[in-house]
């Protein structure tokens, strides 16, 4: 697959969609995480989620700046993805702090995987932008630590959080498929017809699910 697709207009529209969904995803993750932060059991934990939320906002700003650099109205680019992303969040409202923590962890790592996969098909400049956004592994490590500690403190949490994480994965994959196929985000890649795009989304789904499963096992949870 070529890194810079052949049809510039088609690629440009693909890129606008990709950056649009990234921008809106980051902006809404920021809002949800920072709202959830208030339910943290300690002030220390509130700051942990807050710090991660702030990083999401900074990602949003980077992507927005790139869209505007392309002469695209970031709001317009984001708007078409708002219903799908909002729907995802409506369906995955955490019931407490532990579920918020898990949601932050699952979203953070799935975003990173999704971006890494998509980065294979974009131009060098966009790949660099995606690299900047991905480099928040420190935040992910903090979440992982915090989840491990919570699970060690209260083993009964494990089954609840395992179930919750599976629901999050299911909703997130549905979202990823929807935005990738409906818009048609990945169909905009040069050389991909509808069947090719579908195949790409399917293999992406398998990859995301496998990575997620490995991470859950790392927490001692059944994936």
């Amino acid at each position: 697959m070529s890194a810079i697709p052949g049809d510039p207009a088609r690629y440009n529209s693909f890129l606008t969609d990709l950056l649009g969904v990234m921008a809106y995803g980051e902006l809404s993750a920021f809002e949800r995480l920072s709202s959830d932060a208030r339910y943290s059991p300690t002030l220390h934990d509130r700051a942990v989620l807050g710090r991660i939320a702030v990083v999401e906002f900074q990602h949003y700003e980077l992507v927005r700046a790139r869209l505007e650099g392309m002469g695209v109205d970031a709001e317009v680019a984001m708007l078409r993805f708002q219903p799908s992303v909002d729907h995802f969040h409506e369906r995955t409202r955490p019931a407490d702090w532990y579920e918020s923590l898990m949601k932050a962890y699952v979203i953070d790592t799935l975003y990173a995987d999704y971006y890494r996969a998509v980065a294979r098909y974009v131009d060098a400049g966009t790949r660099e932008l995606i690299g900047q956004i991905q480099s928040a592994e420190e935040a992910t490590a903090v979440l992982q630590e915090r989840l491990k500690a919570a699970l060690a403190d209260d083993p009964r949490l494990a089954s609840r959080l395992a179930l919750w994480a599976r629901r999050l994965l299911g909703e997130a994959l549905t979202l990823a498929q929807r935005v990738s196929l409906e818009y048609p985000l990945l169909g905009g890649l040069s050389g991909l017809d509808d069947a090719g795009a579908k195949e790409l989304v399917d293999s992406l789904t398998v990859e995301l699910a496998a990575n997620h499963s490995r991470r859950m096992a790392g927490l001692g949870l059944a994936g």
Copy 2:
């Protein structure tokens, strides 16, 4: 009044309280603003509130770092102010985006005034920290612009927002008096007995109320 008070232990306890209430104030302003951001009418406006929320979080981080540099557990320093600050926010839940915008503006400017007043009584290092936190006038200008535009679009908003701003002022002054006197925050300043602290708080109240009134007039609202 001397800039560096005479009794080091007393001053240190004053400073811990001052930084504690500042840190908790900034952390909760961050959470409230970023939660409110979701109700903004446009994605552009969501980002406006989000950006201001992020600045509050950065302020929180600065103050927390200072507390930890003093060997103080920031969580402990913040905890005693949590009930009062939470109570303030519970009593001032915005009903919509315009009320959120006004709340952000009122809080931002009152914090700045309060910090400026308190900076007169602290050591040079703390004064510098307060200066860093105050220098977000750009954010304030954005809020002011946005409020002016909203009021120009819908003149019926004026009476509702004027009333709301008066309530915010009343609750904020109550909060400032409570944290200043009860703890006894300002009483920790060298050379101030209870009566002196009370006098200081009273003059601060008058100053904050006058500045607020001037700003409301600047928006075309009855203070």
